[in-house]
């Protein structure tokens, strides 16, 4: 009788252990999947940001031909681009987001300035660059949404009980969001 109950208890224990291990494995795999998604989403932002770095010098050159004396703005754009490219190697997402936001703002100023130069606006090269940059910024906006959504999923898993135990063991950490400009964020909130 006693042996029977010992065997029963041992069986139950084994069963519980197997279930635990099964759960831990699936939780770990899920975290891996979520982290990969964050990385893949980040890569999409990265592609678009780099595309923007490539477009900026051409844009500045074109504007120079019509509005060379707006040196301050042009230099600010180039400086912001250099700053953003430097920040691209920084490990913190927030640093990079900040630098990219500066570039977005200075580009906005540049386009506002172009309004005052009808010849520049009529330039086909400028128009093409303008629309290409607008498209890129749109893509950046969506890529950022995807990235933030992936980060939110990962962070929720990493922080909530009991997956946080597996996350701690596996070295999964919460990741920063790629923050939008304050103005842009407000715009999104109004629309939602």
């Amino acid at each position: 009788m006693e042996t029977g109950s010992i065997i029963g208890a041992a069986g139950l224990f084994c069963l519980a252990a197997v279930l635990m291990i099964g759960w831990a494995l699936s939780a770990y795999n899920r975290l891996v999947r979520q982290r990969n998604q964050v990385q893949a989403s980040w890569a999409q932002i990265d592609v678009q940001l780099k595309r923007r770095y490539d477009l900026v010098p051409n844009l500045v050159e074109t504007v120079k031909g019509y509005a060379a004396h707006e040196r301050g703005t042009l230099e600010a754009v180039l400086a912001a681009r250099t700053g953003a490219m430097a920040a691209a190697v920084a490990p913190e997402v927030s640093v990079r987001a900040g630098a990219e936001n500066v570039l977005t703002q200075t580009l906005g100023r540049l386009f506002a300035l172009a309004e005052a130069y009808p010849d520049l606006k009529a330039n086909q090269n400028f128009a093409a660059l303008h629309s290409e940059l607008t498209r890129t910024e749109d893509k950046i906006a969506y890529a950022r949404q995807f990235y933030n959504s992936a980060v939110q999923t990962l962070n929720t898993s990493v922080q909530s009980v009991p997956t946080n135990l597996i996350a701690g063991l596996g070295g999964f950490r919460s990741t920063d969001y790629f923050e939008a400009l304050d103005g842009e964020r407000a715009a999104v909130q109004v629309r939602s």
Binding site: Q37, A40, S149, V188
Partner: protein, 751 residues
């Protein structure tokens, strides 16, 4: 068996077998491809979502096509989705007042938009109301959508007929060959068998007809090289979207943020919640979403059809079983002794008799066994009765009784598919039709059932679904910001932090004997108030002829005056804070804040009631009069399609309004300035509300309502002289008649 007959049979079988084999091979070869997905990507292509859903669903059009088209229309600004709270089932669809140019819309996009338009009341339709009630209608609508999507995909070179004309011709030719073989065989048979009137040609025609019909049945669409390439890309997009777990949980209204990503997500099947909420009657009755247990999941439902036992009661089954046993027994008893398994008589008549006997004996055996089986299982069914509780997935008529030609068939049995949470597969129960009206899909029911006959013997609804709650209430028009529902002679409205003040005001009005405002019935339900329903008509924009009449204008002014007078004493002691809109000094009365046709109840041409006191605020009379005049006169710019009248006509009506209100001279002098200030204050209020997260006001801003107000304010200022001259001029009796003519000449829809 005669070797010649054997030869004939073999020849026929070979010909038919070869044809069906060829048909099967052709089907196999033309099976739509399942391309390997491209690497996951967020780059969208140029194909519309409906075509994308065709490509990723192996070239078949599913319900995703209509759903994704609807979302795509929303993403492109042709429709608008608004979700008032956390529950996506309460999402409403709005038709924007100024939609983009629709000349580029594809036929199926128009088809979906027209469906929404057809259901919309005042430009609004609850999302859950989009599904069809009538199966035939749903089928016709979907068939049209499907053919339009397929035509578009074919035109783009992404899809083609699964059987091309060459294949169909070949199969038809082959059917001709088979028919010839059959004719030859029949002729051969008749030649040695000397049968009279052998239908040689007839048989050939029947065979040819049947085979051609089979070959001509549309087996759907298949891939093209370009289609495979494009499908691979979209499968990559699907993988990308599926990788984002949040996408699965996005509600339809999130299309405002995700734009076309949401519509393409629905097209590739990556948006579970959105697809669940959206149901354009494409609801697949065999694969139904269930929310039992708090999570949405799909349940596969089987609907038994052919067996006679389904849905029957024991008293009906037992006599059948008895008859079956009796007949079976009788047949066996009579023909059993003559049953000869190995007949070897040469006489033809005897041979036929033996074969018939064998057939009858088999029939008798079958009847006996099935009767016995029915008897045993029917009785066992009584013993194995069990109780099932679950969510109603589907309810539809199963069997009907014909009552003669002039009377409609009366249903006596319904299919009732219930998800009891035990698995993702279930078989529908047979629900006696008298209970069918008591429940609706989404309700939770407890039923007592007999598992073998699938008959429901006891039935009770234990919980109502959300969609049912929506449907049962009449959604009232007017207001425009809050969802207000009528329940009997009461109105249930959402409340806000200011509602306590409004309730005090309404109670005060009731105590004063002011009967034109609703009384407060109940405020115990958190977040809602229950007020009197004021019977009558409420106009929207453009106003109805009744609301535009001079009688309405005059009675509106008189009622506003009566309302103000009833609040004057209360305004002196009423708190200045806690209202939705801040108090305006000097306080003389409690301003209604939105005294406009959409908040007034008309009895014929007379304004008899005031509703929606949410914008009430202590303030000066002129603050309310200015806005009321702007709305009722109306003092709108010619571009504003909600208004009417030339500036002279408006000035005359303004004069009438102020006379009936009894506005004093100093107020008349300030009226134009106050009107302009009041409109600016309204726009500021809209901005403040939108910034605070009020989706309805954000929607109004997105629609450009504020621009209309600002434009009207400019117009009022520009026409100041005309308005002020009319306000100052001595009384003129002809104004009333002129205005009345205007009001009565107006026809609905002339804007």
């Amino acid at each position: 068996m005669d070797s010649r007959l054997f030869l004939d049979l073999v020849a026929t079988a070979v010909a038919l077998g070869a044809w069906f084999g060829a048909y099967g091979l052709v089907r196999g070869f033309t099976r739509p491809a399942s391309p390997t997905p491209a690497p996951a990507t967020m780059e969208l292509g140029t194909e519309p979502p409906a075509v994308v859903s065709l490509l990723v669903n192996r070239w078949s059009v599913t319900e995703d096509a209509a759903e994704s088209t609807l979302l795509d229309l929303a993403a492109r600004g042709f429709l608008e989705l608004r979700q008032p709270d956390d529950d996506p089932m309460r999402t409403t669809l709005h038709l924007p007042p100024s939609p983009p140019d629709d000349s580029g819309l594809r036929p199926y996009e128009r088809h979906v938009r027209d469906r929404v338009r057809g259901l919309a009341v005042d430009g609004v339709v609850p999302l859950t109301a989009l599904s069809f009630r009538d199966a035939a209608q749903a089928k016709a609508w979907n068939r049209r959508l499907r053919s339009q999507v397929v035509a578009d995909a074919r035109a783009a070179g992404l899809s083609r007929r699964r059987f091309g004309p060459a294949v169909t011709s070949l199969m038809t030719a082959a059917a001709g060959v088979v028919a010839v073989v059959v004719v030859v065989v029949l002729w051969h048979y008749s030649s040695w068998h000397s049968t009279e009137g052998n239908p040689v040609v007839g048989g050939g025609i029947v065979v040819f007809g049947v085979l051609t019909a089979i070959a001509g049945l549309s087996p759907g669409e298949r891939d093209t090289p370009l289609g495979r390439q494009v499908a691979a890309h979209w499968l990559g997009v699907r993988d990308w979207l599926r990788g984002h777990e949040q996408f699965d949980e996005l509600p339809p209204a999130s299309v405002a943020i995700w734009d076309r990503y949401l519509s393409y997500g629905a097209a590739v099947g990556a948006t579970r919640l959105t697809s669940t909420v959206l149901d354009l009657g494409m609801g697949n009755r065999k694969l139904v979403w269930s929310s039992l247990g708090g999570t949405w999941h799909r349940v596969r439902v089987r609907y038994p059809r052919f067996s006679a036992r389904y849905g029957q009661t024991l008293p009906k089954l037992l006599p059948r079983a008895a008859i079956s046993i009796a007949v079976g027994g009788f047949l066996l008893k009579v023909f059993g002794p003559d049953f000869d398994l190995v007949p070897n008589s040469a006489d033809q008549a005897e041979q036929i008799f033996t074969m018939v006997t064998a057939g009858v004996v088999v029939v008798g055996l079958v009847l006996l066994v099935s009767g016995g089986h029915t008897l045993v299982r029917g009785v066992a069914d009584l013993v194995t009765e069990r109780t099932v509780t679950g969510e109603v997935l589907w309810l539809e008529v199963w069997r009907t009784t014909n009552q003669g030609e002039d009377r409609p068939a009366r249903p006596w049995l319904h299919y009732l598919a219930v998800d009891d949470g035990t698995g993702d597969r279930t078989t529908a129960w047979g629900l006696p039709s008298q209970w069918a009206g008591d429940c609706r899909d989404g309700d939770v029911v407890t039923i007592r059932v007999r598992p073998w006959t699938r008959r429901v013997v006891a039935f009770a609804v234990v919980g109502h679904s959300r969609s049912r709650r929506l449907v049962e209430r009449e959604i009232l028009t007017g207001g425009g910001v809050n969802e207000v529902v009528r329940i009997g002679d009461t109105v249930r409205r959402p409340t806000g932090p200011w509602s306590a003040r409004v309730h005090e005001l309404l109670r005060h009005l009731a105590a004063q004997g002011f009967a034109a405002a609703p009384r407060v019935r109940d405020t115990s339900e958190p977040g809602f108030e229950l007020l009197d329903f004021l019977p009558g008509e409420v106009s929207n924009y453009p106003p109805t002829p009744a609301a535009a009449s001079v009688e309405a204008l005059e009675s509106a002014a008189a009622l506003l005056r009566a309302y103000h007078d009833a609040t004057a004493e209360y305004a002196r002691r009423a708190p200045r804070d806690g209202w939705q809109v801040a108090a305006t000094e000097p306080v003389e009365v409690i301003c209604h804040g939105d005294y406009a046709p959409h908040n007034c109840v008309l009895d014929g041409n007379r304004v008899v009631g005031i509703i929606d006191f949410d914008h009430a605020q202590p303030g000066p009379r002129i603050w309310d009069v200015a806005y009321a005049a702007y709305r009722w006169v109306p003092m709108t710019a010619p571009e504003n399609t909600d208004g009417f009248g030339t500036v002279e006509e408006q000035a005359a009506r303004l004069r009438t309004f102020c006379d009936r209100y009894g506005l004093d001279d100093s107020a008349r002098a300030d009226l134009i300035d106050v009107t302009v200030a009041r409109l600016h204050a309204l726009v500021d209020f809209m901005h403040a509300q939108a910034a605070a997260g009020n989706a309805a006001f954000a929607g109004h801003l997105a629609d450009g309502h504020h621009l209309q107000y600002l434009n009207d304010a400019r117009y009022v200022r520009a026409q100041r002289l005309v308005f002020e001259r009319a306000l100052r001029r001595g009384r003129s009796g002809d104004l009333r008649d002129e205005g009345r003519r205007r009001g009565e000449d107006r026809q609905p829809g002339h804007h």
